[in-house]
Symmetry: C2
Amino acid sequence: MYVEGSRPDLRVPFAEVELAGDNPPVRLYDTSGPGSDPEVGLPPLRAPWIAGRGDVAPVSGPGTPLAGVRPTQFAYARAGIVTAEMEFVAIREGVEPEVVREEIAAGRAVLPANVNHPEIEPMIIGARFLVKVNANIGTSAVTSSIAEEVDKLTWATRWGADTVMDLSTGKRIHETREAIVRNSAVPIGTVPIYQALEKVDGDPVKLTWEIFRDTVIEQAEQGVDYMTVHAGVLLPYVPLAVDRVTGIVSRGGSIMAAWCLAHHTENFLYTNFAELCEILARYDVTFSLGDGLRPGSIADANDAAQFAELRTLGELTHVAWEHGVQVMIEGPGHVPMHKIKENVDLQQELCSGAPFYTLGPLTTDIAPAYDHITSAIGAAMIGMFGTAMLCYVTPKEHLGLPDRDDVKAGVIAYKIAAHAADLAKGHPGAQAWDDALSKARFEFRWEDQFNLALDPDTARAYHDATLPAAPAKTAHFCSMCGPKFCSMKITQELKDYAAQGMKDKSDEFLSSGSKVYLPVLP
Amino acid sequence: MYVEGSRPDLRVPFAEVELAGDNPPVRLYDTSGPGSDPEVGLPPLRAPWIAGRGDVAPVSGPGTPLAGVRPTQFAYARAGIVTAEMEFVAIREGVEPEVVREEIAAGRAVLPANVNHPEIEPMIIGARFLVKVNANIGTSAVTSSIAEEVDKLTWATRWGADTVMDLSTGKRIHETREAIVRNSAVPIGTVPIYQALEKVDGDPVKLTWEIFRDTVIEQAEQGVDYMTVHAGVLLPYVPLAVDRVTGIVSRGGSIMAAWCLAHHTENFLYTNFAELCEILARYDVTFSLGDGLRPGSIADANDAAQFAELRTLGELTHVAWEHGVQVMIEGPGHVPMHKIKENVDLQQELCSGAPFYTLGPLTTDIAPAYDHITSAIGAAMIGMFGTAMLCYVTPKEHLGLPDRDDVKAGVIAYKIAAHAADLAKGHPGAQAWDDALSKARFEFRWEDQFNLALDPDTARAYHDATLPAAPAKTAHFCSMCGPKFCSMKITQELKDYAAQGMKDKSDEFLSSGSKVYLPVLP
């Protein structure tokens, strides 16, 4: 279902779960989009909003930003303007549009929405809003096809991915990205250095600012909504990572480190950062300032290399803001639980409240094949402490490329982490979902319980595995205890019993100091 | 491999992982036991230790505790005696035997070891030691067979379960338990009220102290190492649970609540607690004081009913200690992240430091079919805060009975949580495992990485899924980036480069105030 905003073309999607009896329906945030035909792409929902602002010249296909204009949500917010995109996310999040505008204007939230990606249903990333989840997809030199990646995109958003990063390497990067952007109702992120590296045959030493810049423009014109840029990997920081257990594990970070060392020159992303800002501003591409020196193991967490880079990202945040560009900051990685909070606190301090976007973190290194779990632990905690978006990790992390099942496993684990964080932060309305499901569980409304589940298909299948018969779906017991031995059934009976005045007796007892039963103990 | 203690029959098992090159082998805690033939059972490792203490009369089969004697590890520890069992766990944990004795004597740790379960390899549960994991198995009225449950036991300990609870209901409870105890190298826990209830045809109202007592004696004679007893579900507390979203979700709790209300009489487990202590003391059965009023939903966490019961469990802890009985305390359940720490702090305070043993907790209710993950998040955190043992939750929780795959999924998720907690607590030696695996990963020693993984089979299978060829196992790249584009490979190259003096330049730069590159930014 849709909730209409102040104009008829502003319709915000929700998934509404109907429940049995007189239980009110539950309305859930919905990332799945209107559904696309890959041959055609999605309808350009935002096209009239963008055109209406008059800062993009209409051409066939995507519009061209007018020269000298910064049509960014950040610039509008600072100018006091509530855009249609801001109103859209306000309805989605259940807050006033002015709250959205304020958070964006303060740099505490980003609304990634390239003027050339009119297909998206706007969403917001910021600590005051629901914690978001990103899913990574993309072809590699070794495997995968374009159709497969578009399918992964649709699959990821069906299960709740709020943004998707296309990390394609190898051949046909441009075509893959075009297919993904045109079919995506969620913001798309990329790491442009990957494509730039392909242009120089995979040799980092041959990279130049010009090749990178042209790649960024190419991707911005296609409609990429946010880009990871490793501008904080500075030449003097590189040696700080050399004695680590796992050195530099970020691909972008290692590419830039290799370039810096080979040329004995400062990172060209850093030295050309102002020009880069101007390019991103023209399309409203959001910066995702990459953590090229993030720790890749428990041993390397919170070390000098990591925090040196974070300090630089804090400086660059202000430069980006001065150019009207939205910014979020990427974070680790591998971090043991007791070192997680320091990451958020320091990032918020050094980066003046810009949204934090973290990969996990994994809380132990010992479980390859289960890193969706090792990292969901860290992700939930870092979300509770204030991280705005969590980049998923799939079971294949460190081992291979995620297939469809891995994408789903990663998204579900991270939706759990994000929702657990929303609950812990006391996000208004977050607990209503839990309460509705728990009430259905307690009342043996099995179908309601399944339909409210993050993954109704699997919940239903697991129930069927033990008690396949249809009557079991309405039974007031389950397979754990069997028909004559159910705690929930007993409690229901207690409720009737208790209604007969037990409450009074209890109050009397408790007010007398609860001592009456102690003497029986020796 | 085994490490021998002060006597030749005291041999402590470890799994030793051999690594390539000159990397030292890694020694891991091993719960898998010596392997048993289900027809015969395990050899009685502890038999000579128990007999040597002279407080158990030898009979064919298990020994009979001598009248009036309390042959408990707690009593020995208080008397200043380091038993063979204590020495065994000291070697397992890498601490001095005196540390083990002190922690047991103070009540801060338990060493569950029924004198009639000589087959176990002793282990310890306490906040100062490695965080432990329990796996629940057991037949139900609806499904499962004895052979299947023994297989689940072996399977659970193979993946790292430190104790196993037999929660059988329905028919053949005694025979099932006998098979499980005789084949278990880990302590076995039960909830005797389940079997007592079977004896009265499933009607809680017909339960009596005498039926319960005889059931406890029957199970103690078989060798059950710890028993859950819901002695804290007091009559006046029951109404406190009536207005909850999910009432009473503990089976034992709801049985006792039903009994209390039906008879208008205080819980017979509470009124006969001293006699129960004397029975448990004779066999050295450890109390696991059950949380019959634990919250079954986020909405009910940390409420009056839960904490009223916890206060009573604190009183009962001291009664048990006075009788020489070891005690641990069970905890929730469903708890949002921000309310987890309060649970541990209050339990430690009210129960004078007795070990905490928690079920999860689940940090959200919305993900049936993934509750091993919702709860691994809570388990890791509560472990970090001081919980000594984590009771696993499988993907089938709330939906059906766990099969073999579910048991493994639950154990692995909880080994991750427990190890993450060990790391966060700074347990000596915990990080060595992570470091060894991360070093292997960084050096592309794929086989070492697999062999060090919690689940080598699945890690290997996932790697094969993308790069099946044997040469890929020795390749200095993986499927994520392909051969010419690997961050770890680049870092290795950086190491050589950096050795040529980059470190000096960096130090010089950093000591100059790191300002040299800032002017290039506008």
